[in-house]
Amino acid sequence: MKFDLQDNEVRALNQALHTEDAANASFSVVNPGGKHNVAAGAMFATSVDVHGHVGYYCAGMNQNATIQIHGNAGPGLAENMMSGRVEVNGNASQYCGATAHGGLLVVRGDAAARCGISMKGVDIVIGGSIGHMSAFMAQSGRLVICGDAGDSLGDSIYEAQIYLRGSAASLGTDCIEKEMTASHLEELAVLLEQSGIEHDPASFRRYGSARQLYNFNIDNVSAY
């Protein structure tokens, strides 16, 4: 099914994605023109190809659908995604994959600040570099960065895993480099393969929580 967003409201597209007829259907969306909320709230195993650049909150809350954006995405891409796959050929603006619970988010270009902030189980693979405060308070899931990371990577991180191929401008509080074991190399290889991005897993380093910040420490009791 073809949707031209020059002639149709985004709401018409999204309503079509919210009906059971969308299951296993294919949608081709043209002329997105930077509009907001394109393909938000998809619920079924639909394939959506968006040809052009999108604005805020594209593919938000996605469940089950495979959404490919042939262009750049504005702020809040795949925010709170639950499952499925969202892929951007270009760059993504700030807080992509924020609070997302599951599924796979692939950005082939760069992602801006606050990528994967408070992520809760999603896998995010960034082909390029990411901005500052990425994976802030990230709870679970995996963030793979093939380029570099901005300041304060993984600040106040919980149990999410970070794989970084380049270097971080700085690590956030309680984020430390950790040993890359055979099982980590294996899971990273799977993520890269799923994303269609080729790199040697051994060229990455792993970062995660030092677990000093989020566990209650009896020595600090007087502060409460």
Partner: protein, 302 residues
Amino acid sequence: MCGIVGIYYKNPELESGLGGMLADMLVQMTDRGPDSAGVAIYHDPVSTQQVKITLQGQDDVDWAVMEKSIAEHYPHSVSISPVANHAVVILDVQSERDADRFSEWVTNSVQDINITSVGSAIEIFKEKGLPDQVVDKFSLRSMRGTHALGHTRMATESAVTTEHSHPFSTGLDLCLVHNGSLSNHNQLREMLRKQGIMFQTDNDSEVAAGYLTWRLSQGASLNEALEAAIQDLDGFYTFAIGTKDGFAVLRDPIACKPAVLAETDDWVAMSSEFRAIAQLPNSENARIWEPEPARIYSWERN
């Protein structure tokens, strides 16, 4: 929230299309700023013996009366071109003080008339209301020029009035539009007043314009003034800045406020969101990127 847009031509053959491109961008930013809208347009610089001033009156302003009044008070030749409730005045000046005396006279002695810009190329038009109403009121689509800034406002820091609308100009040909909010503007305004910078409102963005004017008056280049602004301005901002020959974009180090830049061989465009740039001719072939935090992007004509 606010929407900001800017356009800067590298190819002078396109200059007649400036108003149309700016209008399309501004209307796309209506959702971000339905309170008021304004533009700064740079075109047809006057000679070194002249100064261009934009005046802003009430809706019932009678520019013929104002023209007579100016002729009685100003000793040299003057031309006045009304644009709705604004008017572009070109003064012949014989000394540096002439334009200052004129501005002081308007500010202190003429009721219900404000000065929105002073310089050689700049003209500023701004008004309460939806962006498309403002575009129509000033016949923006017919305007031409070398570069322009625009703003759609959703007020958070101060009142919704025409005076509080952007763009703000506090110095010759210098103009700024702002999306964000500054937290140390009261302190900075007091400091700048002591340095002789004049403010018309309590708006935080006017302070940012005043700050740049002050730095430039101290001999800083635009880039040096913006470097200093990163240190001295506290708060959230995406700025687009215009000077007589230049155009610059700066985001604060936290970079909450959005910005998109696009560049072709013919033009550079800046906007809060891509959808404003999507309207522009040949935007499908533009290089598009998000400006990095605390990094100055500038273009200048040689």
